[in-house]
Assembly symmetry: C2
Homo-oligomer: 137 residues x 2
DNA sequence: CCGGAAGCGTAGCCGGTGCTACGCTTGCAC
DNA sequence: GTGCAAGCGTAGCACCGGCTACGCTTCCGG
């Protein structure tokens, strides 16, 4: 164990989270699109995220490098088993946060937007409590 | 008003949020440090965020460019009026989220970490509801 | 008053996440 | 079976937010 002079606070975690947010958003979106229309195309993702297909392309390459998706030139994007697992997790997390916000009394539209932003920053402990709260309403 | 074919969803907002998160974290930290020890040094921020002074330096330059902070070589970092206003807002927002999580029953340690991540993604509507919830406990 | 430690600045590297411009592939309509 | 629109890939640019390496400033103790 290194000494690690204590200050050096939780921002470190917050920053590390950022790295995985986009990956989670992507696998979640790919899963959604596959369910909705059978396959997921680069263009679908570009539309979904409001970016150009070029940006999607590069991101998908990174996800492929990291073992979360599979794709070949001019073919659809698919999830690997790891990617699918992450998508399932993310979807569940997302749903818990969304239902919690709705149970709290937030309007549907706002709840949808806020859930997007919040889901990546909620610890397991808080998630469990949100779930209990929703159930008890 | 442009047509804006509707899909193009809330992710756009989520992404735009990212751009301002770091700025909010910085002005909040600068405000904290000024209160605590009278002045805020680059090194203080580096310690606070767990990054090198070089990274802080560049970020502070950007904040100066954007009119949120003032600084001169080898001098402390101070907030402009705009920066102070943003810091006040952020501090309040942060406090509301933190108190809400505590009221929900989240442990103090987790609440502190989660509040850091969540505060930037909560709409005014949700914030108001969180405030009411905390007050009604 | 001067030497060294702490603080600070700059150059230059990397990877991520956006973009435009341009050209190749694919697949469907005719 | 050809031509065109939609989809896709690549090159190259910009900015952000990390880093190491290196050298200059400041300030305090002796």
């Amino acid at each position: 164990m290194p000494v690690s002079k204590q200050p050096r606070n939780q921002h470190v975690r917050t920053r590390r989270d950022h790295a995985t947010e986009l990956a989670e958003d992507y696998v979640e979106a790919i899963d959604d699109i596959e369910r909705e229309k059978g396959e997921c195309r680069v263009t679908d993702l570009a539309r979904q995220f409001g970016v150009t297909h070029v940006t999607v392309n590069r991101t998908v390459s990174r996800l492929q490098r990291d073992g979360l998706v599979e794709t070949q030139p001019y073919a659809p994007v698919t999830l690997t088993r790891r990617g699918q697992r992450l998508a399932d997790q993310s979807r569940k997390r997302h749903e818990v946060v969304l239902q919690f916000l709705l149970a709290l009394g937030v309007s549907e539209e706002t709840a949808r937007v806020d859930a997007e932003g919040i889901e990546h920053h909620v610890s397991d402990e808080t998630l469990r409590i949100m779930q209990q709260f929703t159930a008890s309403q």
